[in-house]
């Protein structure tokens, strides 16, 4: 254990107000801080991130990607609070995706519906069934448990964009926190995805696409989000089970590593993000070629977008279409994604459940 931190008990009062009993040791600063000061500092820091990075403009319609999990619950609350307190002038909505996974999604949607009532934010639910004609349950019945996360990942990304388009929003906000982004940086290094590596630390992405997305929690520690949820909402009223289709075998080496790292040196999580921001990557890898999908009009660098390719496979009973080397519609392109900056990235590197950056 590194000896840098002061001994616990050296001062028994909150570092900031010096009045109240501390309840949390902030990983970011190693400060001992009381509940009230924590709420203040937590919310103020998010506000500063929003302001310094110019995430929003007054009058914008902003959809919050709400999954019912801890990040989106806190995001919904804090954003609506800051919007009110600092007069951002934003039109906020909750946007939730129903993948059609029985037992998993029903419960999380209940949480989001509760959030709708709690924060007074209008809720829009977009389902895979409506968008694509298939639920995840149907897909898994068809293709089994291999590659199902691929489908889900591609469909979810589009579903959010389409849902946002339906709502006519200007921007999407997601609850990705510092731990998530640090993990993504590491995974992109491990998988050789230099193009994603160059984009994944941007606080706003997709400005040249249909709907830009931003991550106000980019510098917020997961531990603090959880503490905020617990302390503020008094109970763990957020949805927290594993997606039932995600296999147990590969338990996330990178996440485990990050947690081990956080234990020895909490600021390492922000250091990883800083490294990601500072990597010298030629800008040519950043700009993808944009066209539109012939079938559905979504943006795509190929003739058909990924979702359409996958759907074609499902509908034709050829579930492997679009997985691995491209065959079928776009099969003329022999090599998979060797073009710098191609949007159709190696599909194997998509993570289940993670909103694509």
């Amino acid at each position: 254990m590194e000896a840098k931190s002061k001994k616990a008990g050296a001062s028994r009062l909150c570092c900031l107000c010096n009045l109240r009993r501390p309840v949390l040791k902030r990983p970011k600063t190693l400060q001992q801080i009381c509940r009230e000061c924590f709420y203040e500092v937590f919310e103020e820091e998010i506000h500063q991130v929003i302001v310094q990075n110019r995430l929003f403009k007054s009058g914008e319609r902003v959809a919050i990607g709400a999954s019912g999990g801890k990040d989106s619950t806190v995001l919904a609350y804090v954003l609506s609070e800051l919007n009110r307190r600092h007069n951002y002038g934003l039109d906020l909505f909750l946007l939730s995706i129903d993948e059609g996974i029985t037992g998993y999604r029903d419960d999380s949607l209940e949480t989001v519906k509760r959030n709708e009532v709690q924060y007074g934010l209008p809720l829009q639910i977009v389902s895979y069934k409506d968008l694509y004609g298939w639920t995840m349950d149907d897909i898994v019945k068809m293709i089994g448990l291999k590659n199902n996360c691929t489908f889900c990942g591609v469909f979810r990304r589009q579903a959010l964009d389409r849902g946002a388009a339906l709502l006519k929003v200007d921007k999407l906000v997601t609850g990705h926190n510092a731990d998530d982004i640090a993990e993504t940086v590491l995974l992109n290094i491990l998988r050789g995805d230099i193009a994603r590596l160059s984009r994944c630390t941007s606080i706003t992405t997709g400005e040249d696409g249909p709907i830009p997305r931003c991550k106000p929690f980019k510098y917020t520690y997961e531990k603090e989000i959880i503490f905020y949820t617990y302390a503020y909402f008094k109970k763990l009223d957020y949805f927290s089970t594993e997606c039932i289709y995600s296999p147990n075998a590969y338990r996330g080496f990178a996440r485990e590593f990050i947690k081990d790292l956080e234990r020895i040196r909490p600021r390492a999580i922000l250091d990883i993000i800083k490294s990601g921001e500072d990597f010298r990557i030629a800008t040519t890898t950043k700009m993808p070629e944009q066209g539109t999908c012939e079938r559905c009009g979504y943006i795509s660098s190929q003739k058909w977008c990924k979702a359409c390719v996958l759907l074609e496979g499902l509908n034709r009973g050829l579930p492997k279409m679009g997985i691995g080397r491209p065959r079928g519609v776009n099969g003329d392109h022999k090599m998979e994604t060797k073009k710098p900056g191609s949007v159709a990235k190696s599909i194997e590197s998509k993570q289940c459940g993670s909103l694509d950056f």
């Binding site: 590194e2 594993e242 040196r265 250091d271 800083k274 030629a282 590197s349």
Partner: protein, 459 residues
């Protein structure tokens, strides 16, 4: 977000199709049972089985295996012009397997060059010289002094077995960077290391001091290249530990084949070889190595090594993928052999160097470097320096360092920082002053158009 954001990898797609992974399940042989009894390369000899559980076991015969590894070494040397006939090369030898192989290969190159020299009628080109340096860390790890003494003896005998051609051996105490008075230097080293509160920082500072001591012995003894045996695996760990320490900007400087920001440029001829190959080669050729206890790591570095080992178990080509990704980061201008007086270099070599753009022009923009780790500084990191006019030495040091060294090496409070600053080797302190002067000149250059000359009038 909705489900475990990292949990799905293995079940959902064919892992083997990962970017860069070329190994399919059948290739990883568990012991014998191989139907092929012929080397896959030459198709005639019987393949070697190392039985170490590593990948690609039982595929190559001994000769093809050795040629493969040596081939990678030689390709690295020639394509980056690492060693030319007029060079004097110092090999950093730690006793470990990578540097042992580096030493062996450099020796073999030297023998071949000697043979060519003796066979040729034109004796104008000298054969490059080779020396061997070992850094003695006893001052930092006093408990290991006996082990160190044995190791040194073993190193001397190993090197003397590699002659002709004879090679000088330099045993460099790491405290030599502080000066020649060994007692005072030792004392200063211990005080310096003790003033670093962070374990990982302490370990990294010692590494920087080791490099400084190697540079010192190389330049004092007329060497113009320093060969370091870092292999792919070592570099993969470095990529991750640098990332985790917030050193993303300077990372690309550390992992190229050539690192010429030092007085004596460093070359990495084994950069494209993985540790497994190197250990197997040592086993095959009976190259003995010695593992010193001070090599064990702590803190962050240890965590990263364990992590990489875990990843390797899961996918044996992971190290290569990590290095390949990092290799796509833009290197710096000094990651090439520098321009020098070319009079001793044969015309053919000069032409090749120019043609492949292997040299950098020293007059190009210079980066500012951190005085402790010598990492190039991101402009945003170094902007503080300009605000310190006649500051305390310690404050100036703080402003001159990269954010990673500031956090993990420099002590927190003012008086400890003053003390720490006083213990630093003179070379590092002069770096700080040098940088400050540079930065003022740089600033002046930027604003000169706005400066009024004495005889201009204010409008």
């Amino acid at each position: 977000m909705a489900c475990n954001s990292s949990g799905c990898e293995s079940g959902c797609y064919d892992r083997e199709k990962d970017n860069g992974s070329k190994i399919s399940v059948e290739d990883v042989v568990a012991g014998g049972g191989n139907q092929e009894s012929v080397c896959v390369k030459c198709k005639c000899n019987e393949p070697m089985t190392f039985g170490d559980g590593g990948s690609e076991d039982g595929k190559f015969c001994a000769e093809c295996f050795r040629n493969n590894v040596f081939g990678k070494f030689r390709l690295a040397v020639t394509s980056h012009a690492m060693i030319t006939p007029s060079d004097n090369v110092l090999v950093a030898f730690s006793g470990g397997s990578s540097s042992r192989v580096a030493l062996q290969f450099v020796h073999e190159l030297q023998i071949k060059a000697l043979k060519n020299y003796e066979a040729s009628r034109d004796r104008s080109l000298p054969v490059f010289g080779v020396g061997v340096a070992f850094v003695d860390e006893t001052a930092a790890f006093p408990a290991l002094s006996t082990e160190m003494v044995d190791a040194i003896e073993w190193i001397r005998s190993t090197v003397s077995s590699l002659s002709p051609p004879a090679k000088d051996v330099y045993v460099v105490p790491v405290e030599s960077v502080f000066g020649s008075d060994s007692l005072e230097a030792r004392d200063r080293l211990v005080k310096l290391l003790d003033s670093v509160p962070d374990d990982t920082g302490k370990e990294d500072l010692l590494l920087h001091l080791k490099m400084l001591s190697l540079q010192k012995v190389a330049s004092e003894n007329g060497y113009n290249r320093l060969v370091v045996g870092s292999c792919t695996s070592r570099i993969a760990s470095h990529v991750l530990s640098a990332t985790v320490k917030g050193r993303g900007y300077s990372l690309s400087a550390d992992i190229q084949h050539v690192d010429a920001r030092w007085k004596v440029p460093i070359v990495l001829p084994l950069r494209d070889c993985v540790r497994l190959e190197i250990t197997r080669l040592c086993h095959l050729d009976g190259l003995k190595t010695v593992e010193l206890a001070c090599r064990s790591q702590c803190g962050i570095n240890d965590l990263v090594s364990s992590f990489v080992a875990l990843l390797q178990e899961e996918n044996p080509s992971r190290e290569c993928t990590i290095v390949r990704t990092a290799a796509k980061l833009t290197p710096f201008y000094f990651n090439k052999i520098p321009e020098t007086d070319d009079s001793n270099v044969p015309m053919a070599t000069q032409r090749r160097l120019k043609r492949f753009n292997l040299k950098y022009d020293g007059s190009m923009t210079t980066e500012a470097f951190c005085p402790i780790c010598n990492g190039p500084l991101n402009r945003s990191d170094s902007s503080d320096l300009d605000t310190f006019e006649e500051g305390q030495e310690a404050d100036v040091l703080y402003a001159a360092c990269c954010s990673s060294c500031r956090f993990q090496i420099l002590p927190e409070d003012g008086s400890s920082l003053e003390q720490f600053s006083s213990f630093l080797p003179d070379h590092m302190i002069s770096q700080v002053k040098h940088q400050k002067v540079d930065s003022q000149a740089h600033l002046r250059e930027k604003i000169k158009d706005c400066l009024l000359l004495d005889d201009e009038e204010v409008v």
